[in-house]
C-alpha cells in the first residue's frame, strides 16, 4: 500500500502514516511517498516511537522518496 504525501509539509506525512498503518496487516508494509525533507527523519522516528519497523527507502517512479514501514503490531 502507498500513501501519496507529495506536497504535504511536516508533520502531515507522519500523520498520514499514522492514519493508514491500520489499513495493512501485521507484518505487511506501507510506503509513504513524501517530498518534504523532514519526512525522512520523522518517518524513522515515528517507527521507533510507535514500535514499527522502518524498512528503508525506495524512490517512486517520479523520483519522490518512498519510505517503507512494516507494521509490527
Amino acid at each position: 500500500m502507498k500513501i501519496d504525501a507529495r506536497g504535504r509539509r511536516c508533520p502531515l506525512p507522519i500523520l498520514d502514516l499514522a492514519r493508514h498503518i491500520g489499513d495493512v496487516g501485521i507484518g505487511e508494509t506501507i510506503t509513504v511517498e513524501a517530498d518534504d525533507p523532514a519526512a525522512r527523519p520523522d518517518v524513522a522516528a515515528w517507527c521507533r516511537m510507535r514500535g514499527h519497523e522502518y524498512v528503508g527507502e525506495t524512490p517512486a517512479a517520479d523520483g519522490t522518496p518512498g519510505f517503507v514501514v512494516r507494521r509490527l503490531h
Partner: protein, 371 residues
C-alpha cells in the same frame, strides 16, 4: 508575560556589558591605528579588552583577536586554519557543527578542498575513535564544537585534540561563560551575544598554530576593518563578569533545565533530546510527535514565551535542523529552550504551566488526537 527562553540565539545585554558599552562610547570611537590622542585612547581600550578576554579564556593576549561577530569568527577559524595548512586539502568536522562551520566547509569544497562530516550518536555526540580515524595525513584541520548549540550535548574535545596531529578548531560559542572550555584545541571561536555581550566575536589562535587570514589584505591586521571598540570593551567586561558568576548561574540553570526536561518528558509522545548529564547547563531541546513546530512557536509567542525550533517548517530553508537529522531524532514539533542569567524559576514554571496545553492544542488543530 514576556519571557525570553532563546538565549542561545543571543542573550539580553548583561548589565556589565551595558555599563561598559556606554562608558566606552565616548572614548572608543576613533580608529586605534591612527596617531592622535583619541586614537591612542581607543587603542588602549582595545588592548585592555584583549587582555581581559584572554585572561577570562585562559589564553595569551597576543593569541586573541576580536571579529565583527560570531559568524565571522567561525569562518575565520575554519578557513584561516585551512589556508595556513594548505599543503593538505582535507577538512574534518562533526555533522552537528553550527551552520557557519558547515558553510565554511562548503566554501573550502568549492575551491577544491574536501570536507568530511563525522556522524553522531542518538545523544548528538561524536565517537572519538571514529573522528580520529578520519583525520589522516591529508587533513589540514578539524573542527569540533565544545558543546552542541541545539541539544547541549558536550563533545570529547580534549580526547580528540590529544589524538590528532592537525590543528583542532573548537566552536566554543555556547560554552564560553556558561561552562569551562575543554583544553587541547589550537583555534577557538566565540560569540559575545551568547554570554550577554554585544554583537562581537572572538578568535584565538594558539602560538605555534599555522593560521593565515582568509580575508583580503587589510593593514589593520588579520580581521579587516576598524574594530568596534565600545562593543569589544563591553564584550570583554561582560565575559569577565559571567565567568566570575558562572558556577552560581550554571547550577541554577542546570536545575531549571532538569525541570524542563522532566516536564517535557511527561507530555505524551515527546522526545527529550541530548545527553541528560554531560551537557551545557542552559540549553535543552525536545520534539513533539504530530506537532507543527511553527504553529507551536506562534502559540507560545502569543502566550508571551520566546523559544526557537529546529523543525523544518520554522526554518527559512524548509530543511529540518541538520543536528536533529544527524541524531536520528524526531524533527517535528521541535522546541529549544535556552536560559540566560536573569531567567527566573517563575519564568520557567510559567512556561511549563502552558506547554502541555499548547502542545495539545496544536495537535488538535491537526486532528492528531488518538493517533
Amino acid at each position: 508575560m514576556n519571557v525570553h527562553l532563546d538565549a542561545a540565539a543571543g542573550a539580553p545585554l548583561h548589565p556589565v556589558a551595558r555599563e561598559a558599552l556606554l562608558a566606552s562610547l565616548d572614548d572608543g570611537w576613533a580608529d586605534p591605528g591612527r596617531l592622535y590622542g583619541a586614537a591612542r585612547r581607543a587603542a588602549m581600550l582595545l588592548q585592555a579588552a584583549t587582555e581581559a578576554a584572554a585572561e577570562a579564556i585562559g589564553t595569551r593576549p597576543d593569541e586573541l583577536v576580536f571579529t565583527a561577530n560570531g559568524t565571522q569568527a567561525l569562518h575565520a577559524a575554519v578557513l584561516g586554519t585551512l589556508a595556513g595548512n594548505a599543503r593538505s586539502q582535507g577538512f574534518v568536522h562533526s555533522a552537528v557543527e553550527h551552520s557557519a562551520v558547515l558553510h565554511a566547509a562548503q566554501a573550502h569544497w568549492a575551491v577544491g578542498g574536501t570536507a568530511v562530516p563525522i556522524g553522531v550518536d542518538a545523544l548528538g555526540r561524536v565517537d572519538v575513535d571514529e573522528f580520529v580515524a578520519a583525520v589522516g595525513p591529508e587533513v589540514a584541520g578539524a573542527a569540533l564544537q565544545a558543546a552542541n548549540h541545539e541539544v547541549g550535548t558536550t563533545q570529547p574535545v580534549r580526547e580528540v585534540a590529544d589524538a590528532i596531529f592537525p590543528p583542532l578548531i573548537v566552536d566554543a560559542t555556547q560554552t564560553l561563560g556558561h561552562a569551562p572550555v575543554p583544553g587541547g584545541w589550537s583555534v577557538l571561536a566565540g560569540d559575545a551575544r551568547a554570554w550577554g555581550g554585544p554583537d562581537v566575536g572572538l578568535l584565538v589562535v594558539r602560538t605555534g598554530t599555522r593560521w593565515r587570514s582568509p580575508f583580503p589584505e587589510d593593514d589593520r591586521g588579520p580581521i579587516p576593518g576598524v574594530p568596534n571598540i565600545p562593543a569589544i570593551v563591553a564584550a570583554a567586561a561582560s565575559l569577565r563578569a559571567v565567568v566570575a558568576e558562572r558556577d552560581e548561574v550554571a547550577a541554577r540553570h542546570r536545575e531549571l533545565i532538569d525541570r524542563v526536561r522532566a516536564a517535557a518528558a511527561r507530555i505524551p509522545d515527546v522526545e527529550v533530546l541530548g545527553d541528560p548529564v554531560d551537557r551545557l547547563p542552559h540549553i535543552t531541546t525536545f520534539s513533539c510527535l504530530y506537532v507543527d513546530g511553527e504553529a507551536l512557536l506562534h502559540r507560545l509567542d502569543k502566550l508571551g514565551f520566546a523559544v526557537s525550533s529546529g523543525s523544518s517548517c520554522t526554518a527559512s530553508t524548509l530543511e529540518p535542523s541538520h543536528v536533529l537529522v544527524a541524531m536520528g531524532a524526531l524533527t517535528s514539533g521541535n522546541i529549544r529552550v535556552s536560559l540566560h542569567r536573569d531567567t527566573t524559576t517563575e519564568d520557567v514554571e510559567a512556561f511549563l504551566a502552558v506547554l502541555p496545553e499548547a502542545v495539545a492544542a496544536v495537535r488538535d488543530e491537526l486532528g492528531a488526537a488518538g493517533l
